[in-house]
């Protein structure tokens, strides 16, 4: 576990240096065992529909893409880098305005060059996902 804590600390430092994640206000809240979690607060500038205050789908995509990459980096094979090859997102419902948005991703398979990821986007109602995603990512070794 201590080793995981150390990796989490290094990962948090790395993710704090990502300009777009900072611009979104995203924070790495989980990292290890091929899984990652990132959360962000609701903000008016990121809204897609001002009459309802619902965040734009692009924000959800950005968060899940980042989280998917983080899950690849959190794989025990310890890749040195990754990039998204493809990402498919299914939007189940609108994220509730004012609530935190959280992405959880898992790298469920890794070959020498490709990593396969699934991800969820959640608000406070965790048993009703906002969106799901599947993606493939490159593996740099």
């Amino acid at each position: 576990m201590r080793q995981n804590d150390e990796r989490m600390r290094i990962a948090q430092e790395f993710f704090r240096g990502l300009p777009h994640l900072n611009a979104l206000g995203g924070r790495l809240t989980g990292f290890g065992d091929a899984r990652a979690e990132i959360e962000m607060d609701w903000r008016a500038e990121l809204v897609g529909d001002p009459r309802t205050g619902v965040l734009h789908g692009g924000v959800v995509s950005a968060l899940m893409d980042t989280c998917g990459g983080a899950a690849v980096m959190a794989h025990p094979d310890n890749p040195s880098g990754t990039a998204t090859i493809s990402l498919r997102i299914d939007y189940m419902r609108a994220a509730t305005p004012g609530q935190k948005l959280r992405a959880r991703a898992e790298c469920f398979h890794m070959t020498r060059k490709v990593a396969f990821v699934r991800a969820l986007a959640l608000d406070d109602e965790e048993d009703r996902p906002v969106a799901t995603a599947t993606g493939s990512f490159t593996v740099e070794r």
């Binding site: 240096g17 990502l18 777009h20 980042t66 990039a83 990402l87 498919r88």
Partner: protein, 167 residues
Amino acid sequence: MADRNEPLDRVKSRRDAGIAAIVAAIPYISWLGIRFDRRGDELTAVMPFSEKLIGNPMLPAIHGGVTAAFLEIAATVELTWATLWDDLESGRMVPDAAVPLATPRLAKTIDFSVDYLRSGLPRDSYARARVVRLGRRYSSVQVEAWQDNRDRPFAQANGHFLMPQGG
């Protein structure tokens, strides 16, 4: 339908106001700094490069999530534009650039599938979308983004959308 003797500046300002009303309805478009160029009914989404779009500062490269969002915005704006065009041209709808479009007229994304073809450089990006099928309830849109060379896209996507009802 369209009156061929209508003054050209009025035609242009009406169309530009239509685009502005769509863009004004979605705050996230401005947050990313995206604007739209129009030639007749053809739209090009333009995303000028800025620091906050960077995902990996070591390369640097545009964030994959930003690319996805850019494609999705280009697709939804094109789709909304396509649904408004007839009303706009016939004068049934007179948009005011300063007034955001009533949001029930915006389609909802059902799914969106992005292919990353090469890494997004720290340059301006462009995207054009094509409504492959415009349905009463569901629509399908294809979109492609490029930077320096039109024939070397850095990302493409396909999405399905739920159309606004009773708009």
